[in-house]
């Protein structure tokens, strides 16, 4: 514009200036249609390493599949950092359109008043998604009053990884189904000198060995259907088999059957290097284990207690894509198109194959089966089968506790006090429940107004 006014002010524009202006228009002419054509939206995520690369590939696939929208994936660090980033951005009134949040942040996001429920958005934009087709523990975790609040993206569940050679050397075909039998096997493996470490404590043991243990063994974790029926929920796991599970872990630790990797070393390395015979960890570690393991490994279902039969489904972990409030309709068009792309069985199967996360829908699972994918990769099917076995009940549907990260850290702290020998398991679990309930009451107090619209949804 400035160039134009200069030109009108002068009587005879020099040739250089005209050339310059022409060049400017040329640039504008080139740039303008490109800008108008594609609506750009941001997606902040927490995937790093191999998973981060796969996520970028997914976004590129979407961008290449159409010419109206561009999704820009931005890695913002780990889940905590992404959460903090989106909170700061929202408070500064510049949130991204989409953000990937871990399962523990569900209540915080749901009651934040800062999100648009994905099912509402996709229906409004006219996308037909087969919502009932989502695998039950996945759907129930991410939905509120039967409607999906966030798009399930990377759903995982813990499975039981083991070193085949160690079991064979100790004279066992495979790991036992029950904790009681498994204990005998692990002690035998150590006694026979096959390996000095039966199993390694996973970094997220509270998720795999306590929460999922509770669900699989049909134990209540909290009142009001683990929080699904209201904010007044209280933890009760100090009165269930979870206490005896902590007793078991402490015993294994004292006997050297269970080892803690500690900082500076990932627990996974102790398994993939062949030092520890078994490892309870997410199915999402398939990529890493396939790449790093120098051992003959396999995987199976998590064990259950011998007096619980049949065991229930396990619950999910991982993240979902939330849509943030405060954007223009055309940007929401782009968001809806992308979420629809993510929900497609083809996308799900591809993502399942390259990462190890479970396919979120039954159609995607059937498609993977049909193509014989599990004949080549039998361990990839375990998580799906474990998640979808039986009918989820109040104990296994999932967990809906406010400030779930905070209550988990308090619980981890108390379990560590058992490991260090400062507390007895029962005492530690009583204290963990007491601390957790204080946190739940604060969350309830803060969100009191929102409790009234809360209708029991599990019945």
């Amino acid at each position: 514009m400035e160039a134009l006014t200069c030109w009108t002010a002068e009587e005879e524009p020099p040739m250089k200036k005209i050339a310059f202006i022409a060049a400017m228009f040329g640039v504008l002419a080139l740039a303008a249609p490109a800008q108008a054509a594609r609506v750009e939206v941001q997606w902040w995520h927490a995937m790093s390493g191999v998973l981060g690369d796969r996520l970028s590939e997914l976004v590129e696939k979407f961008n290449a599949s159409q010419d109206k929208y561009t999704v820009v994936a931005v890695a913002k660090g780990n889940y905590d950092e992404v959460t903090n980033g989106v909170i700061a951005a929202y408070r500064a009134k510049r949130p991204p359109e989409m953000v990937q949040i871990a399962e523990r942040g569900y209540m915080t996001m749901l009651l934040s008043g800062a999100v648009v429920p994905v099912q509402d958005l996709l229906e409004q934009k006219g996308y037909k998604i087969d919502w009932p087709d989502f695998i039950k523990p996945v759907a129930s975790f991410w939905s509120y009053k039967g409607r999906m609040s966030a798009m399930p993206f990377n759903s995982s569940t813990p499975i039981f990884w083991f070193n085949k050679e160690h079991f064979q050397k100790a004279g066992f075909d495979k790991p036992a189904d029950t904790w009681q039998e498994l204990e005998k096997q692990l002690y035998a493996i150590k006694a026979k000198g096959v390996s000095e470490c039966g199993t390694v404590l996973p970094g997220d043991f509270y998720w795999s060995l306590l929460e999922n243990y509770s669900a699989i063994n049909n134990q209540p974790y909290g009142t009001l259907a683990n929080g699904f029926d209201g904010l007044g929920t209280e933890f009760v796991y100090n009165k269930t088999k979870v206490v005896s599970q902590v007793v078991r872990l402490k015993k294994w630790l004292d006997d050297g059957v269970l080892q803690i990797a500690g900082q500076g070393l990932s627990p996974e390395q102790l398994f993939t290097s062949g030092r520890c015979s078994t490892f309870v960890n997410s199915t999402a570690s398939h990529g890493n284990i396939e790449r790093n393991a120098k051992i003959d490994w396999s995987a199976t279902f998590l064990p259950h207690e011998n007096d619980i039969n049949p065991p229930l489904n396990s619950t999910i972990g991982g993240g979902a894509i939330w849509v943030m409030k405060g954007h223009t309709p055309e940007r929401y068009e782009a968001v809806a198109a992308f979420l629809d792309f993510v929900a497609q069985p083809e996308t799900q199967v591809w993502w399942h194959g390259v990462t190890g996360y479970v396919p979120a829908t039954s159609k995607a699972y059937a498609l993977a089966r049909e193509r014989g994918y599990y004949k080549e990769h039998p361990t990839r099917e375990i998580a799906v089968l474990q998640l979808s076995r039986g009918t989820p009940n109040d104990n296994s549907r999932g967990f809906r506790f406010g400030s779930f990260v905070q209550t988990m850290l308090a619980q981890r702290n108390e379990v560590e006090a058992v490991f260090t020998g400062q507390k007895q398991p029962q005492q530690a679990m009583d204290d963990a429940v007491k601390r957790g309930n204080e946190i739940l009451r604060q969350f309830e107090k803060l969100n009191a107004g929102k409790g009234t619209e809360w209708a029991p949804e599990s019945k």
Binding site: D80, T83, N84, I87, Y90, R91, T108, L111, S112, G113, A114, L253, Q259, I260, A261, G262, Q263, G264, L265, L270, R275, S403, V405, Q406, L409, R412, N413, E414, E416, A417, F419, T420, G421, Q422, K423, R435, Q442, K445, L446, N447, G449
Partner: protein, 356 residues
């Protein structure tokens, strides 16, 4: 850093006014510089005498700056510093104070004024009291170790004849390493399963396991934090030692005092202001800057054994998203650090000899 200026002031002139000090000595050894050195020595008495005529009680080296009348220029000169303080200290502190009396959800859509409930909850909380005790242990131990090792290393500097610059560089290296990286190094070296140093400890019959022994974990972070900070103390002490008049040391040597005795009876008392300043800085370091090391080495565990106040502020604010409590904790931590610093000035300051 503010606390440093009144203490450091007298030091800078001492380096100049002591012609026998190491710095000046080294100038004499190089022939080109010797004339300049002598000139500086000759000039000094004249400079020092001038202010003394007007203010006979004024200490040498402390001069009054005169900007003429009016507050315009001083204000202008102070403005950048004041702006920095406002943006990086006063405004955030005020925000923290406000947040500390609120109960709010992370997205700020639901905010309740709860007055001092956040503070009351903290004092009723056993975990917080444990964190205070841990912090005291951590900062005191870190302070003592850092100073003690830095004093020994500084003392040894003069005795290292060959490769003194290599020696100094080696000592200063840890300062160039990011705290998180330093933390990971220490965590790995002392990891009971794979760490080489942990294996050495095991070979010596020490049952080292920071994952299951709270004391081991606390020692590990104390050592890591001290290691990272020794170089900082070392720089100040080594420079301070250069300012100790060689004539005094030589006189003591003639009287038959050995190097260690000379160090403790002459050099160390003369380093009083430096040591005092370093003690204050070490406390501030321990209180506020060690969180990356804790995060990398122990995550505050096991069972909260290394959960010092500043790490708890971080976890409650950024991981647990309990902003009110986190703000209340940071207000308390600030008050705590302020009281500590004031106490140090109140009780130790007048025992420190600044008149060197």
């Amino acid at each position: 850093m503010k606390a440093s200026s009144p203490i450091l002031w007298p030091e800078a002139p001492t380096v100049q006014t002591a012609p026998q000090s190491g710095l000046a000595r080294s100038q004499h050894t190089s022939p080109g510089e010797s004339a300049a050195g002598r000139k500086a020595v000759a000039d000094r008495p004249v400079k020092a005498r001038t202010p003394r005529r007007g203010h006979p009680d004024r200490e040498p080296g402390l001069k009054r700056a005169n900007f003429g009348r009016g507050a315009g220029l001083p204000t202008l000169l102070l403005l950048p510093q004041l702006l920095i303080l406002a943006f990086f200290f006063f405004i955030p502190s005020l925000r923290a104070l406000m947040q500390s009396v609120l109960l709010s959800d992370p997205f700020g859509s639901n905010v309740q004024l709860v007055w001092f409930d956040n503070f009351k909850a903290l004092f009723a909380n056993g975990e917080y009291r444990q964190s205070i005790v841990t912090t005291i242990w951590f900062t005191v131990a870190q302070n003592v170790i850092t100073l003690a090792v830095a004093v020994v290393l500084a003392f040894a500097t003069d005795r290292v004849v060959r490769g003194r610059s290599v020696y100094r560089t080696l000592i200063l290296l840890p300062y160039a390493i990011a705290p998180a990286i330093a933390g990971i190094l220490w965590a790995f070296l002392f990891n009971p399963v794979v760490g080489p140093l942990a294996h050495m400890l095991h070979a010596l019959g020490i049952s080292w396991d920071p994952n299951r022994n709270p004391n081991d974990a606390l020692w590990l972070v104390i050592m890591a934090a001290s290691w990272k900070h020794i170089c900082y103390d070392y720089i100040f002490l080594a420079v301070g030692l250069l300012a100790v008049p060689a004539s005094l040391m030589e006189a003591a040597a003639v009287d038959g005092a050995g190097p260690i005795r000379r160090f403790f009876l002459i050099a160390l008392p003369m380093l009083g202001p430096t040591v005092f300043f370093l003690a204050v800085m070490n406390f501030i370091y321990g209180f506020f800057e060690t969180f990356a090391i804790i995060d990398a080495v122990t995550h505050g565990g096991p069972a909260g054994a290394t959960n010092i106040l500043v790490y708890k502020v971080y976890v409650d604010g950024f991981v647990n998203l309990d902003l009110g409590s986190s703000a209340a904790q940071s207000v308390l931590l600030m008050t705590f650090a302020l009281i500590c610093t004031l106490l140090q000035f109140r009780y130790f300051d007048h025992k420190v000899n600044y008149g060197v």
